[in-house]
Symmetry: D2
Subunit: 292 residues, 4 copies
């Protein structure tokens, strides 16, 4: 955990923009680890879908659910895990528990966003209505920073202000968020004014940025990324979506009477399966510590 | 749970051989449920691999791990779940806890096998050495039957006796197992003497059979299946193996700099994704119970 | 579970008022079971205090926490458990998950109250402000009833309307609650107009009543209890409070250098300790099922 | 966690013998923390009794159960926790998982003992038969040391060799255990030859000692303790035993129709109850971080 947090800080305060693997459960995290991904992002949407079959954006899942998932992930994958903590579970009091439990579950970075979770799937008619007031949110971010027991844990201010407010007002918020002790700013998607908003954001805050939804050309423009302090970029939720289709197609094939033999080409090799369950390392462990 | 158990009994004591979906986590169970699979089988190997990244056949995972996985499965999928409880966790005392906790987790059928879990990955040089004595195992099966709190829960005697013992001795065991109150016999794979062993088994026990590893021609020979009381057949671990490859290939593609856009064809449709998280049902629930 | 639910219904729809044991964790539930208590009540306040060290009346604990506690209680104690589910976890959507998970954890009755959980310890200046609107709450109670998977699970409408509203308005609410399919009404304490309110409540609803805070003379007035359909009465949170003091005094004595020998008189007997861990039953189990 | 581990090391490698509080659940750990206890000891016997109602010394509880209890303890109590991991869960392979999961649960020290857990309550006729071979146990201890992810976690070699073997053979074992990288030796009770065995043990190993069952005069003989490197001493299981009796007497009193009012003197004060749930700290937190 300590090492994973330190590696994450090196990336965040380094000079290169690193992509993060989107994972959704222990298995996908384990495979990401095997492939050498350093940073993994656990979005609430896919975590809750895979474990609880509930949609995101309604409060049917809670922080204890997310803590359990994170704990099961960090025990099988030595990666730096960024976790989506929604609105921190409520007010500053909830943020205290949220941060401490996610930290105990071994995550490296915790996102607290300035949007409330809507009480219904349909959400509020105006997303704007769901923005927590600036004063309240600044208090929550300070609480999150103070709640940490390990100073290496990073609190990330995830904000949809640029999506919901006039630019000036949004930047004013982000400026205030940046003074709370949080160590990164995250945008949930490309803001309405595109890359220009990112430039403006960087002028308002010198914190490193974590971005979702960058257009392809931007991800290749290393000068742009470096100039604007973009340190982590996300690549969408493909891992989960591909897994859902693969599982679905397999079970549908068999349900329709298809032969298991037809699946061979789509199945992992024996070597890959053994790597997932750590058989090579465990055999070595046996050779070292078990009397023959 | 009650309904799932009753449906399972109808299949077991019916007249048709039904295939079971192999699932390994809540997500695959949820998708099996959506596709109309009635019976799902949770093998220890894939359950432990996906959740804990540990191999099967060593005691690194325990019954509490399996209980947790079953509980998370039954809360998202209304299916009849058969769960692999290895050797029941140890002796007759452990069987008591194992059966009661798996039952509380909502499973429909619990397999207790007559092999011990080997202490090492390499296993014993002779699998034979791992067979629990007949007397001890009969006591464990009786204990499993007595431990149930719901008489609808099915205890399944899973046996590798046919694989490890001379035919007579194996049938003698199975005859004794059949008198303990268990309600089905399961074979972990096609026995050494092939279908002839299944015929012999059926002559020794009139309990319904659950079989793994049936050759393709046998699965299509309905007269054979009916004549030998074969009620559930398994189709291998394809679901897990396909998911591992899909996740691996996706994360490898992105790690190598591939574009997220290239994944589109392999991703689940929006409709499928919404079905996983029950959005249609939940919206209907909101329309019915939330004041507009 | 099935039997515990049926026993609870017999009490609820019987003719006698039964006291419920206040328990707060698996140990106290186990001891209540040993002493023959049929009904146990798990209040959120003591459950959260003992397991999480968080106060009641703030949303620091969530439904997953309560589910975990209930599950651990029902596995060691064969009692009918009434559990405090606060406001059901939020709106009608949350009620769906809350009811299904508590049911899966083996409880017999689930209380859903018409007060929101305040976001802060200090609460709202006026408790009145926290009452959920009648229409919304009726929807939530209907949702709770519909969410059950076992028709024997009892949904209890816990209401503080009598404490916060004029009598007419309160009775109007309770009348509407009574038509939702809930099967009992619970008051969190003696209402402001005392026993007269209970008489009025009974005239408004013929559902059985569960009461906290009855004055001593009322608990002895069997004619009053019978006439007003009072079926379950609570006896305060003494179990928890006594345990806290016992643990505190012991650890303080030893911290101050006191001798462990001084504690002897306050320690449970060996026989009692063995009963907690079921040693007599387990030895009998071994004699029956383990080959000697 | 980091600080708790460092504080524990200071005691272990300091010059004073410190008593450890015996705790059995989050509530008792929280109260120990409030009273200023620095070191808490979680014995398997009371942990399993309180949470699972199963006896010690049979394998009905497993390492996942203990991990869950430890995690719930460390989230409410900032203490250095020593946990009893029995035989480490089995061989060297199990030790790997046991150590990593207990470490992730925030404990400071993990005891691995050289006795196997007997398969039955009655145990083996000779305890001697249950001693793991020296070679195997040395491998397990080396595995435990290597499994740590935080070098500050202490592995404790708990041994009953002095109770079961001739002195020379016992000391030979302890000498070998001491060279595996473990950082303390623990005795489960006063050895057969009394304090003389402790002197002999200290001559065989210069590791700090953790002792259970010291006679009263020895605990006061600071010269003896210092001379023999005794750093932690245990005070029996009084906390649990007193709690069981307090809960039992309360529930029995009420079951017999006794008045709740009679319990007043035995109940914790309001101030103590508020301290358990951290109300003073949380109110201060609200004043600091919640916009008024």
């Amino acid at each position: 955990v300590t090492r994973a947090r330190k590696r994450f800080r090196e990336i965040l305060f380094g000079s290169v923009c690193v992509p993060a693997a989107s994972i959704f459960d222990p298995l996908s995290a384990r495979i990401a680890h095997m492939l050498g991904w350093e940073v993994c992002k656990l979005s609430g949407s896919v975590a809750k879908a895979a474990d609880l079959a509930v949609p995101d954006g309604v409060p049917m899942a809670n922080i204890s659910d997310m803590v359990d998932i994170c704990r099961r992930i960090t025990r099988v994958a030595d990666v730096s895990l960024i976790v989506d903590a929604d609105d921190g579970g409520g007010g500053a009091l909830n943020v205290l528990r949220t941060v401490q439990e996610l930290e105990a579950a071994g995550v490296s970075a915790i996102e607290i966003e300035d949007n409330q979770v809507p009480p219904r799937i349909q959400g509020a008619s105006s997303r704007h209505a769901l923005l927590v007031s600036k004063e309240e949110h600044v208090g929550k971010l300070k609480a999150a920073v103070a709640a940490r027991r390990d100073a290496d844990t990073v609190i990330v201010a995830r904000t949809s202000a640029l999506h919901q407010l006039p630019l000036d007002e949004a930047l004013d918020r982000i400026r205030d968020y940046s003074r709370t002790g949080v160590e990164a700013i995250m945008l949930p998607g490309l803001p309405p004014r595109g890359l220009a908003d990112i430039v403006a954001l960087h002028q308002a805050s010198d914190l490193p940025l974590c971005l979702l939804g960058l257009p392809l050309e931007a991800t290749k423009d290393e000068a742009f990324l470096a100039a604007n302090n973009v340190r982590i970029r996300f690549l969408g939720l493909g891992t989960y979506k591909v897994a859902v289709k693969a599982i679905h197609d397999t079970l549908k094939h068999l349900k329709n009477g298809g032969s298991p033999a037809d699946l061979r080409d789509r199945e992992a090799s024996e070597e890959l399966l053994q790597a997932v369950t750590r058989i090579p390392e465990l055999l070595e462990w046996e050779r070292t510590y078990v009397v023959q």
